[in-house]
């Protein structure tokens, strides 16, 4: 059984019908990449799964219907979220950002500091004064602090230097050994490195699902679906 099942999911924002009945599954373990051109609804999909936008249809997580559940209850069931643009709390220190994310009695600081040793040194620094890469570390660390069963990760390499992109890919590889990841990512190099399955969206609809490597090997299809080759 899939860990996350999405059926006939619709999202309307104002006059726009952003998601038009998308359907896909996220299997337990490994990384499922959610791909597509800019503006096709990838971020909205993650936000809909998190309950951050009004949605209609069915979202099932671990067999339970979470479609009408408030965000905080979805998260408490073991869902972690790394938003696009990081959304760290700029006026809080790194330590405070992490402390705020603690849900379990034993938060996994060992794992977090093992992956991001820099965060230990910068604990007292205001998150708003960190570089983009460091803020991304905080955003990912917040999601890893708890023993989540699935992480929704939205464009973690956006705006990062090639060196940091490679670092994020390394972290995603390590994370995927511990938990299931649904990853929105534009960098196909990162997708090739970490993803097992792929779901491709186009104008609010799912147009392809299947193994990621098969998709990426088919250059004409990648060009057609994502506008890159």
């Amino acid at each position: 059984m899939a860990l996350v099942e999405v059926r006939d999911l619709h999202v309307r924002i104002g006059e726009s019908h952003i998601l038009q009945g998308i359907e896909f599954d996220v299997a337990e373990g490994g990384v499922t990449a959610l791909l597509g051109r800019n503006g096709v609804g990838k971020t909205t999909t993650l936000r809909a799964l998190m309950g951050l936008v009004d949605r209609a249809g069915l979202v099932r997580y671990d067999g339970a219907d979470i479609t009408h559940m408030p965000t905080y209850k979805i998260v408490r069931r073991g869902v972690g979220y790394v938003p696009e643009d990081r959304d760290v709390f700029a006026a809080l220190t790194v330590d405070e950002n992490l402390r705020l994310a603690e849900r379990n009695a034993e938060p996994r600081y060992d794992l977090v500091y093992d992956l991001f040793p820099e965060l230990r040194e910068r604990g007292k620094q205001l998150a708003g004064t960190l570089s983009g890469g460091q803020q991304q570390m905080v955003a990912i660390a917040r999601a890893l602090l708890n023993d989540n069963r699935v992480l929704f990760v939205d464009e973690p390499t956006k705006g990062l230097s090639p060196l940091l992109v490679s670092e994020v890919a390394r972290v995603l590889e390590r994370v995927s050994e511990l938990t299931t990841v649904l990853l929105v990512e534009q960098n196909l190099g990162v997708v090739a490195r970490v993803a097992r399955d792929a779901v491709v969206l186009d104008t609010g609809r799912v147009v392809h699902t299947g193994p990621a490597q098969e998709l990426l090997a088919d250059k004409p299809m990648v060009q057609r679906m994502m506008g890159v080759g």
Binding site: Y72, F89, L92, L100
Partner: protein, 293 residues
């Protein structure tokens, strides 16, 4: 010199009251985006709870009567604020027009209710004699209630700052002021923080209700509405959501009001504050603090 000192301490006392009223308004707006127009009515409720309790405890000597009535007033405003959030504001988050209509309506209803029950006449507050006595500083005879107001506001400021910095709920509130959606995406039921912030606002306004009743010696149905206008100005000048900014702005507004009333012309104090508001909005549209809490 003594006149200047008297004006300064009186201005600081007035600023202290503005801070106590405005701190709740500022936190409520900063975290929830709710402009609570009923906040002044909460002050009126607190002032009447204080006066009413005092009249019912007249067998006690003045200090226990005063302190018990103060506690009752603070408990009433705290509980009432939390109740208003739970019953009237919670169903309307994200619906700003409806929130404005509900809070304005509530303010009008409370004022009308108080008038219907106790009439329009001002009710005299009984305060311990010490509060009306003076302490001489650099030749100026300062009423002790001014020192009480300033001291209480400083305690509330430090208490709130300690709460915001050192407790988990404080952390949630500071984070929520920045990005409410992300707080919920960390698995936190931010609505509990909303109720708590309303209760904190109610507690501060309850303290302000007691002190303002002593300051003016009377309470009347317009007690809160008159004061809350300046509190709103303080919040805007200080920067929405910033506690320190609110404290700074409250001091500035209290002093400007006093100095203008004495050195320019009596009655010019209020106008000066409005001009100050206009100036700050032109020069620093996000207020003196320039940032959120």
């Amino acid at each position: 010199m003594s006149t200047f000192v008297l004006l300064t301490i009186t201005g600081l006392g007035l600023g202290a009251m503005y801070f106590l009223i405005a701190s709740g308004l500022s936190l409520i707006y900063g975290l929830m985006g709710v402009l609570n127009f009923a906040h002044g009515a909460f002050l009126t409720i607190g002032a009447y709870a204080f006066w009413f309790t005092e009249t019912k405890l007249d067998s006690l000597s003045i200090w226990p009567r005063f302190l018990l009535a103060a506690v009752v007033a603070i408990v009433v405003t705290t509980a009432f604020s939390a109740l208003v959030e739970l019953v009237m504001i919670r169903p309307l988050y994200g619906r700003h027009i409806e929130q404005v209509l509900v809070t304005v309506g509530l303010a009008l209803a409370i004022t009308a209710l108080v008038t219907a029950i106790w009439g329009n006449d001002a009710r005299v507050i009984a305060a311990p004699k010490w509060l009306g006595e003076t302490t001489t500083v650099v030749g100026a005879h300062i009423p002790n209630d001014r020192w009480t107001e300033i001291g209480t506001a400083v305690l509330v400021l430090f208490g709130l700052e300690a709460f915001l910095k050192r407790t988990r709920y404080g952390l949630i509130i500071r984070a929520g002021v920045e990005n409410r959606a992300m707080v919920t995406a960390l698995g936190i039921d931010v609505r509990k923080a909303f109720t708590l912030v309303f209760a904190i606002g109610g507690l501060a306004v309850g303290i302000a209700a007691v002190l303002s009743s002593v300051y003016f010696s009377t309470v009347d149905p317009q007690h809160g509405t008159a004061l809350v206008i300046f509190a709103f100005i303080v919040v805007v000048i200080g920067g929405l959501g910033s506690l320190r900014g609110t404290a700074m702005a409250a001091i500035v507004v209290g002093l400007v009001q006093q100095y203008a009333n004495y050195y320019a012309s009596s009655g010019l104090g209020d106008l000066s504050v409005v001009l100050l508001l206009g100036l700050v909005l032109l020069v620093r549209p996000r207020g003196l603090s320039g940032s959120f809490a």
